[in-house]
Assembly symmetry: C2
Amino acid sequence: MLTDTLRALGEPHRLQMLDLLRRGPLPVAEVGEALGLGQPQTSKHLRALREAGLVVAIPDGQRRLYSVRPEPLRELADWLETYRSVLATNYDRLDTLLARFEDTE
Amino acid sequence: MLTDTLRALGEPHRLQMLDLLRRGPLPVAEVGEALGLGQPQTSKHLRALREAGLVVAIPDGQRRLYSVRPEPLRELADWLETYRSVLATNYDRLDTLLARFEDTE
DNA sequence: AGGGTATATATCCGTCAAGGAATGTTTTGG
DNA sequence: CCAAAACATTCCTTGACGGATATATACCCT
């Protein structure tokens, strides 16, 4: 679900984690170290990402290599596509906005 | 901030609101009615969206017309772009993933 | 000016999520 | 088989959040 993806990434540490894993798979310890997180917190956040389908864990000896799973990101990209017309238009000047309102009124 | 955008949209009602406003500006009452929300709840969520910069309110008599502000969505799109290579690759079959690990090991 | 409408804000409550410390589990190495 | 390493899970506490109700504010109309 799109909402789950957004909620999972709405947490700063988890967003950083994904950005970190974007470069390639990493074990839990390195992820935690990179973000300055404790080991339990790291595992917890990785679990949240995993449950959102944003990440997969692959056993490698006594470690677990986490890597990005792109599916949810594709879904997010598809959703953003539906805003294509909105993104194209330059709505950001207030007067433009007001002008449009007067038109449609 | 990207996190704020994701966090704001991580709430199902707010995501629905944005999807609703994607078609064009609406007053609070119609937004609430469309989502089956009470008036205070509607205002509260719209405020959250507004504070995330995802929405603007324009006074129209005693009403306020809310509409989408594209800036944060552009930022989101830009962020997604950095995952372009990840999205392109077909990571989704587990064996493919494993094969890649064995390669890089 | 007054009454009604549309929206915003305040408050209370229940719930959930994040951080921290301790413990459990699996795997490796000897 | 035992001890240590790497993670996962649990429990606790605390702060934030969403829903509901009540109240305040702003605006229009007559």
